[in-house]
Symmetry: C2
Subunit: 438 residues, 2 copies
């Protein structure tokens, strides 16, 4: 809320946040959308978003405010729109799912919510038109923290459909669970023969420091390149010089706010995508075959991901058993241990659960490095109690894979075999020395 | 198991693994301890640990094997031993709790277990004697994955006791949960006026690449330096040139096996401790005051740490409520969100739990960066449902702190206030740009 006197004035003039207003102060006139007050801001200032995208705060003392026009209603997204095709430009499909990259300030709450007209994306990033002819579709709009496997299934179908008529697909998405979705698409699009590039924005497009436009432009370049891969393409460093493209199963959001938050884990990037247009491959990536996969999206939602820590009770395994869960990925300690002695020993509980059919897999809570349960007696005990260790697979990737695997088989043996089989580069044969804290 | 014929021969001669044996082959004689077979090794070879610490495999074809002496019984640790004081050397107390740094191969299982005679530590690291006069005590011996808050309490008391009679204390420990223990000691030793340095080893002391000796020597140097801090001192890089000393509340094991696995998170190291003896401070560290704190160890074990991911059910909160848990640290997504829409929305469950007295705190699942629930509408909803966001505090540190805070108050308001108060540098005022992936 603004200061009472401002709220009163606004009420009298019939002005609401979101309306276009004109503010005259000391001979200068500012026109733009009236923004909600920033919680930490001065309550006697109003905030206007100018047409150049910048916000300014104006002290209301001595200012004259008038309404220019009412808040524009935002249009609901319609699927299948396409930019006017540019002569000779190859075609990239953008599949928009929501998130910061397609969001702006919500005038009701003062927070940021999804913008529902995907065409706006293209309007904001003119260089996209120089790279490709693009179409935009939106199977759903959701902030990524609320995604579920059902969204991954819909998205796989949408991506597959668009791969038929384009050189590659760019998926725009919220950042929070982007790496789960990239893992899901990696498993759900088997035999993929074109690039599927996921991208997002850590900073709102309202802000000068937004990474969205460059991420989207670099992703379009990657989507046109000669490769078959699901990857995440986001800022590589603090500057606007290049993005890194990371394998969809070996990447994680590692920072709450930095633009270079997405880092390859137990892997180096597949490529650097320079803002000047160059694509610098850092690994052998399978070349483009053109194959459009039929989505393979069966998924068992009764799976969980459990973190362990000193004092953690093994009762959590019983809880998931009782709830009818079929599989659990446990973030095991160190190189593959769980508590083996004292009141909190996990061994009996693990054995009981795995003998009754629960599938329990271990992934490293350290994130980096490879598990080897044979190094310590405690690791061997954990393994002997039925836990299957997943090498250098990320816990997040292992969780997605487990749901996908259990969607495909009812056999415990088959599921264990599938979890250890390398479908989409989720297990590394050897770890590149630069892959630690890349 | 060795090959049947070897097992039979060993049985006939009364030789067991662990015995000292002599092997004569082609005129060469090898003497040492008979090791258990390595699972992946050749079944017709036996493995001998030579007196220089190296293992060799010898093909039994044409070899003569005889028993020299029976397996030495390992002695159980006795507290309070001390090396002969060296003239003019300041005194450092080593408190040994187990882990790889004090372990060797277990002849029964072929894995690695704790060595129970702490005096061996000093024997292995002669340079320790050049740095300090040391005493060694062992309040308990445990692999770190089985530690609980009761061990932290005992350890705090032991450390405090030893601080009275030494310049500083070095705690040797397993690596897996070392960062939880360093956080616990940070809170349980309020007003600490001397260094308390935790160290460990990622590689067994049996191996040429063991980091244990250098980590222990550098830790002893840090324990004698002019600072008041709880820190973890471990290898800083791939070479044996320096260790880094990281603040006890801002550090995490980030790799399963690398010697430089312990990294500061949202912080840079307090200091580099060079193997040549120099201590290079990288931050202002409070100087030594000499104050020996009275341990403040009250701890509420009914606390949990919960990871979130797409599709995660909020029922886990109800589960912990029913089990009588008083507080939960939730690894929230991105900059502070939890699922807010659809069937898996957490909002109602969070509100119900927090209104009925459960304390729920948010820490970043990205590990790096700071939470700010005000950026997105979904973050504000999460906050409004009663979740208190903990800035840049690590989830692991937040878990330990929550148990400690709830050991000190029954008031929810007071607990929330304490969680947000900075006791041991667990909350950074600002993030150093180098603190990402240091």
């Amino acid at each position: 809320m603004y200061h009472d006197s401002i709220e009163k004035m606004m009420k009298e003039k019939g002005i609401s946040t979101g309306d276009r207003v004109s503010v005259n102060k000391k001979g200068n006139t500012y026109e733009g959308a009236l923004m909600p007050r920033i919680e930490t801001g001065d309550r006697s200032c109003i905030v206007i978003k100018l047409d150049n995208g910048y916000n300014i705060g104006i002290d209301c003392q001595g200012a004259k405010i008038s309404k220019v026009s009412s808040r524009e209603r935002q249009k609901v997204a319609a699927a299948g729109r396409r930019t006017a095709p540019r002569k000779g430009k190859p075609h990239v499909s953008i599949v928009s799912t929501g998130g910061t990259i397609t969001s702006r300030v919500d005038y009701k709450t003062g927070g940021v919510t999804s913008l529902t007209d995907p065409e706006e994306l293209v309007k904001h990033i003119p260089e996209l038109g120089d790279i490709a002819s693009v179409s935009v579709s939106s199977p759903f709009t959701i902030m990524s923290e609320s995604m579920t496997h059902e969204h991954w299934q819909k998205l796989s179908a949408e991506v597959s459909r668009h791969l038929r008529k384009s050189e590659g697909v760019v998926v725009t998405h919220g950042t929070d669970t982007l790496h789960f979705t990239s893992a899901a698409l990696s498993f759900m699009l088997p035999g993929l023969g074109k690039p599927v590039i996921l991208t997002a924005s850590q900073r709102s497009t309202d802000r000068g420091s937004s990474d969205g436009p460059m991420n989207l432009a670099c992703s379009a370049r990657a989507a046109l390149s000669d490769m078959s891969a699901v990857g995440i393409c986001m800022h590589g460093g603090m500057n606007d010089d290049f993005c890194i493209l990371s394998r969809g199963t070996k990447v994680r959001k590692m920072h709450t706010s930095r633009r270079d938050a997405f880092r390859p884990i137990n892997d180096i990037p597949l490529a650097r995508v320079w803002n000047d247009g160059r694509i610098e491959k850092l690994q052998d990536i399978p070349p483009r075959t053109g194959k459009v996969p039929r989505p393979d999206t069966a998924f068992e939602p009764k799976v969980a991901l459990v973190k362990t820590y000193p004092g953690c009770s093994p009762d959590i395994i019983d809880y998931y058993s009782r709830k009818g869960y079929r599989g659990i990925v446990v973030e095991v300690m160190g190189i593959g241990q769980l508590p083996t002695s004292g009141r909190n020993s996990w061994i009996r509980t693990l054995r009981k659960a795995t003998e009754s059919g629960m599938l329990i897999f271990g992934a490293a809570t350290t994130l980096y490095g490879r598990l080897n349960p044979n190094v310590y007696a405690e690791g061997r005990m954990t393994k002997d109690a039925g836990v299957v260790h997943l090498g250098d697979m990320l816990p997040e990737t292992a969780y997605v894979k487990l749901g996908w695997v259990l969607g495909h088989t009812k056999s415990a043996d088959k599921a264990r075999e599938m979890m250890l089989r390398n479908y989409a580069g989720e297990i590394s044969e050897r770890l590149h020395p630069d892959s630690f804290l890349y």
